[in-house]
């Protein structure tokens, strides 16, 4: 997971903004469609379960459209996002997601300790292994002593 895939740098067009706008638009349209599928209310005077969702959907579509137009006109140019280091963030995320996926076999506390150790390894610095081991031990202790014993949570 340390192998760094090259993320292409941004070119002139606000690519990420366009994608974001389109995702928002698609999400709002999907939400609106689902809202129309909701049944009508059955109390006198009630606007029904679908009323607010429909309004949100339409409001969201308008906002997404404005966002897209602004992006096309270069409105967000001065705050151009940087994704060059995103693979590291996603790696940290993936480590936790994978470790949580094996919770049914491993148990939550050991899985978290493992994940925490690997995440600390992502960072450079002196004594990485020692730090990772210490973090894992600390995390395991916190999970078991504080959350399982003291707070009485039924950790899986």
């Amino acid at each position: 997971m340390m192998g760094a895939p090259e993320v292409p740098p941004n070119r002139g067009i606000p690519f990420s903004d366009l994608i974001t706008g389109l995702i928002c638009l698609a999400g709002c349209i999907a939400f609106l469609v689902l809202a129309f599928a909701l049944p009508a209310g059955h109390s006198t005077g009630d606007v029904g379960p679908g009323a607010l969702p429909k309004q949100i959907g339409i409001f969201g579509i308008i906002c997404s459209a404005v966002y897209l137009l602004t992006a096309l006109r270069g409105g967000f140019a001065e705050e151009r996002p940087e994704f060059t280091e995103s693979h590291r963030a996603l790696a940290a995320f993936a480590i936790f997601a994978i470790c949580l996926a094996v919770v049914p076999w491993l148990g939550l506390a050991p899985a978290l300790a493992l994940a925490a150790a690997v995440v600390t390894l992502l960072f450079a610095g002196r004594g990485r292994l020692v730090r990772a081991a210490a973090t894992a031990a600390g995390v395991w202790l916190i999970a078991v002593l504080l959350f399982e014993r003291l707070l009485g949570l039924p950790l899986p």
């Binding site: 990420s16 974001t20 928002c24 049944p39 209310g41 109390s43 006198t44 005077g45 009630d46 606007v47 379960p49 009323a51 607010l52 969702p53 949100i56 959907g57 409001f59 969201g60 308008i62 906002c63 404005v66 966002y67 602004t70 967000f76 996002p81 994704f83 280091e85 995103s86 590291r88 963030a89 996603l90 790696a91 940290a92 995320f93 936790f96 997601a97 949580l100 919770v103 939550l108 978290l112 994940a115 925490a116 995440v119 600390t120 390894l121 992502l122 960072f123 450079a124 610095g125 730090r131 973090t135 600390g138 995390v139 916190i142 959350f147 707070l151 949570l153 039924p154 950790l155 899986p156």
Partner: protein, 499 residues
């Protein structure tokens, strides 16, 4: 008068003070851990309170409740991961201040504001419980709807640079708030067959994901531990006279807002913190400093969320009706002792009632003491290596998400929110409007529809209820004032006006 003296005797007895100290200690830790808030903390205490006298058990619970409201701000300031829902507003300016190397100052402002808010809320409870309870009764569904709408108008102020991004975030939050069983018709909405979603998307899952997980991911972007450029000196807890002078107004307004919103069932600290911040910002000669580490951006929400403690106890003590999940747990503990809260409790158990009334004030002071001892230790967490902080945040996020309902489903949802939060962070979308809209969405929708069902569909209900009219007007003002200011400045904010 006997009750007063006896209750003070209980509070200042050795066991009373020990209980207050333990409560404050537990409260700060539980509050600082993301996902664990006052209501979870109190419910964990319940088994221990069986064997205590009712007075001591109430003191313990009040002390934990108050301190947890403060504790939530510590992690919000240091790690941008609000420990409690009511500390979400503090995360914005608190974290910005910590980034400037003023973590210590930020926490001391939060501690002082929390104490001031707690004391003022407690005083309001002590002196004005009955009139405040009468005020709370005036709020009908139309009134609650208007209050919620008023709260939503601060989305614009929370949007930062771009209004359209804030509005998109608000739409997202409102959409999330509609998930779950419909409050009026009882049909499940947007649950896709998952019964875990019947009670809605857990607010804490969104909060932990959007703030904590995304922050850990952002930390992971750094290659190595950079030189501790923003790691400040820690140690002193007292606010300087200059800071006092700067923040006393917002502490006061925050306390009043917190007390008033605290007495309204279903409103409470989660909403009060945003309203207080927005009010302070609107009155401030330098609103542009908000979001960049304004002292008042910490003082106002922190004073308000502690003031809600006193407010929330008003309906419990004067009407015998709990107004929030946390006070419902306290009521449960009293019932366990065979006591039923309500106006007659003043006559039957004056010692207990005055112990609660004075307890809120004393607990705030004890919280200041314990908080100031804790501050140096807490503030040192930022000195840890980035890798350890990132791993720690993620661990606590997972454990906190699990603690919401003991469900792995919530953990996965939190992680998903983390991914969304990270994307929002990269694209300069503010997360605050999402959180605010999520908090208010349910309040606004359920009360809007309840009002219409009560009036058989007559929309005049919103214009005949004086409280509704008042807050609708306030909403209008808070939308129009910035718009007028923007027009005057020159061109209005780009985009956004279409909505």
């Amino acid at each position: 008068m006997d009750g007063v003296i006896q209750s003070l005797g209980v509070i200042f007895s050795l066991s009373g003070l020990v209980v207050l100290l333990i409560g404050a200690l537990l409260g700060i830790v539980i509050g600082a851990l993301p996902g664990l808030g006052p209501s979870i903390g109190l419910s964990l205490l319940i088994p221990f309170t069986y064997s205590m006298s009712p007075e001591l058990s109430m003191l313990l619970m009040i002390s934990l409740y108050t301190s947890a409201e403060y504790g939530g701000s510590i992690s919000a300031i240091l790690l941008s991961t609000p420990g409690t829902a009511a500390a979400a507003a503090t995360a914005i300016d608190g974290y910005a201040m910590a980034q400037k190397g003023q973590a210590n100052e930020a926490i001391s402002i939060s501690l002082t504001a929390s104490t001031v808010g707690g004391v003022l809320g407690g005083l309001a409870l002590l002196l004005l419980a009955m009139p405040l309870a009468k005020l709370a009764l005036q709020f009908g569904p139309a009134g609650y709807f208007a209050v919620g709408l008023f709260g939503l108008t601060s989305v614009a102020a929370l949007s930062g640079g771009s209004l359209v991004k804030g509005l998109l975030g608000a739409a997202f939050g409102l959409g999330l708030a509609t998930v779950g069983i419909d409050p009026i018709a009882g049909t499940p909405r947007f649950t896709f067959g998952h019964f875990e979603l019947y009670e809605g998307v857990p607010f804490l899952a969104a909060l932990i994901g959007l703030f904590a997980v995304s922050e850990a991911m952002a930390l992971a972007e750094k290659h190595a531990c950079k030189a501790p450029m923003n790691k400040s000196r820690v140690g002193h807890v007292f606010m300087s006279a200059a800071v006092w002078k700067e923040t006393w107004r917002s502490m006061l307004s925050g306390s009043v807002i917190g007390t008033l919103l605290g007495i309204l069932p279903g409103v409470g600290g989660n909403i009060a913190c945003w309203v207080a911040r927005d009010y302070a910002r609107a009155r401030d000669p330098h609103p542009e400093t908000y979001g960049k580490g304004a002292a008042n951006g910490i003082a106002a929400p922190e004073a308000s969320n502690n003031a809600t403690v006193g407010g929330a106890l008003v309906p419990l003590l004067s009407l015998g009706v709990p107004g929030s999940p946390t006070t419902a747990i306290m009521m449960g503990a009293l019932i366990m002792h065979g006591l039923h809260p309500g106006p007659q409790l003043f006559a039957e158990q004056p010692t207990l009632v005055y112990a609660i009334l004075f307890g809120v004030i004393i607990a705030s002071l004890v919280q200041y003491l314990v908080g100031s001892l804790f501050l140096p230790i807490m503030a040192r967490t930022v000195l840890l290596p980035d890798g350890v902080i990132a791993a720690g945040i993620l661990t606590f996020a997972v454990l906190g998400a699990f603690a919401i309902r003991n469900l792995m489903f919530d953990v996965w949802m939190t992680l998903a929110f983390g991914l969304v939060g990270y994307a929002m962070k990269k694209l300069n979308f503010p997360v605050a409007p999402v959180i605010l809209a999520m908090v208010l969405g349910y309040l606004v929708e359920s009360n809007y529809r309840t009002a219409l069902v009560s009036s058989q569909g007559d929309y005049m209900v919103f214009l005949t209820d004086p409280i509704s009219v008042l807050f609708l007007l306030l909403s209008l003002v808070s939308i129009l004032v910035p718009v007028r200011r923007a027009w005057r400045a020159k061109r209005p904010v780009r985009g956004g006006q279409g909505a």
